[in-house]
């Protein structure tokens, strides 16, 4: 029964889907949530059943923990998280003047740790870094994405767009081939989404844990049999920057659940 409705849905979507290559018209943009089965959506919609919230709970503990040789907690400078972090994740990656380049939320957290808490950086994809990221990103829930407004980001957004459009890997596919041209079709039984990062960090059922957009991008890039960039690489931040600016106006859903 579900298969029949999936086929019917695909048929309707095929008719509505743009035939030629091109960016998705703003009124046709859909979050990854809308591509999920109702049972998976139910996991995301209930904060007490969403495993991503377990990480956000841990993030709250870390937010209040004094660390580093400065003996400071995030809360000491930023105060009430709901106020200070509201809307922050919705405008990241952001330009960092000292570095002269955009940084994503994970890098910002580590910069804060180094500069203000005088603590060692947290490893990418470590539990603590993801927990803090989930806690901070959650404060932007339902807020419209505004990434990329800063004119200093323009050259990096352009670079990210090029990375999105370029064919790569043994399968010679570009991100756009699937996510601009063939969204709502199926790839080996899984729905192809439009690739809007509205819910990161996500609890991905495939990983059975929380993960960042970087991890998802590296996973996609290996999927097309190309060499993935290292964690923290500028290319990944540029891609993230482009994807977020492409999703401008869509509401944040972090921490989301994805298949």
């Amino acid at each position: 029964m579900r298969l029949r409705s999936a086929i019917a849905f695909a048929a309707i979507a095929l008719a509505a889907c743009p035939v030629l290559a091109g960016e998705i018209p703003p009124d046709q943009r859909r979050s990854g949530t809308s591509f999920m089965a109702p049972a998976t959506r139910a996991i995301q919609d209930d904060d007490t059943a969403n495993p991503g919230m377990l990480f956000a709970l841990d993030g709250e503990k870390l937010w209040n923990k004094k660390i580093g040789s400065a003996g400071k907690a995030c809360a000491d400078c930023h105060g009430d998280v709901a106020e200070s972090m509201k809307g922050v994740a919705a405008r990241y990656p952001a330009f960092d003047k000292a570095q002269g380049r955009p940084v994503n939320l994970e890098q910002r957290i580590n910069l804060c740790r180094a500069n203000h808490q005088r603590a060692s950086p947290l490893a990418y994809e470590s539990h603590d870094l993801l927990a803090l990221e989930a806690f901070v990103a959650k404060q932007s829930r339902d807020i419209a994405i505004s990434t990329g407004d800063d004119p200093q980001l323009s050259p990096f957004i352009e670079k990210g767009r090029d990375l999105f459009m370029q064919r790569q890997g043994q399968l010679n596919l570009s991100c756009a081939n699937c996510h601009d041209d063939n969204w709502d079709r199926k790839l080996a039984g899984s729905a192809i989404t439009q690739a809007h990062p509205t819910g990161y960090p996500i609890y991905r059922l495939e990983w059975q844990t929380l993960g960042s957009l970087q991890r998802r991008l590296r996973s996609c890039i290996s999927g097309i049999r190309a060499q993935p960039y290292d964690y923290g690489a500028l290319e990944l931040v540029e891609l993230e920057l482009y994807l977020m600016s492409r999703a401008r106006g869509m509401k944040m859903e972090s921490p989301a659940v994805r298949p």
């Binding site: 049972a39 139910a42 996991i43 994809e125 080996a188 039984g189 059975q208 844990t209 290996s222």
Partner: protein, 157 residues
């Protein structure tokens, strides 16, 4: 789309929890449970008593989004009174390495004989739920579930 139940090697990265950082984890499909193992596991719980189909509803998506986390609800039609209630619900699978999924013990104070959990299914297979009533009779329901692998599996670093 039906996944062929053949042996497959696929790569999975550890989710970063217990294993150090980026230690790569490979899942090689071990010996699959067979229908014989499934029956043996059921006999273990049920003994020689007959198992009748009925009273039990097994709510599980016919085509799962991802075999690693499948939401499942088991419901048993029962008045749940002191005299007539559900003692326990047992869930089994056909093709995971192990036939048991979970045993859930409730009792008359439950009010409603319904349990939900998230389970792992390694392949397209049958899932069986068996309820034991207060009069020690056994009732069952089964569901056929299609499980496909994720489209792009993560490579080892």
């Amino acid at each position: 789309m039906r996944a062929m139940p053949t042996r497959r090697t696929f790569l999975e990265l550890a989710g970063g929890a217990a294993l150090a950082g980026t230690v790569p984890v490979v899942t090689i499909r071990p010996l699959q449970a067979t229908p014989a193992m499934l029956n043996a596991a059921i006999r273990n719980v049920v003994g020689e008593a007959p198992v009748r189909a009925g009273k039990v509803t097994l709510d599980i998506p016919p085509l799962v989004e991802n075999g690693n986390t499948v939401p499942m609800t088991v419901r048993v039609a029962s008045p749940m009174t002191e005299k007539d209630y559900v003692k326990s619900i047992h869930v089994f699978n056909e093709k995971n390495p192990q036939p048991n999924v979970g045993n859930f013990y409730i009792g008359p104070m439950a009010g409603r004989a319904q349990v939900s959990a998230r389970i792992r299914l390694a392949d397209t297979q049958k899932v069986v739920a068996i309820a034991r009533l207060s009069d020690d009779t056994f009732w069952s329901a089964s569901a056929d579930v299609i499980v496909t692998l994720a489209a792009c599996t993560e490579e080892v670093n």
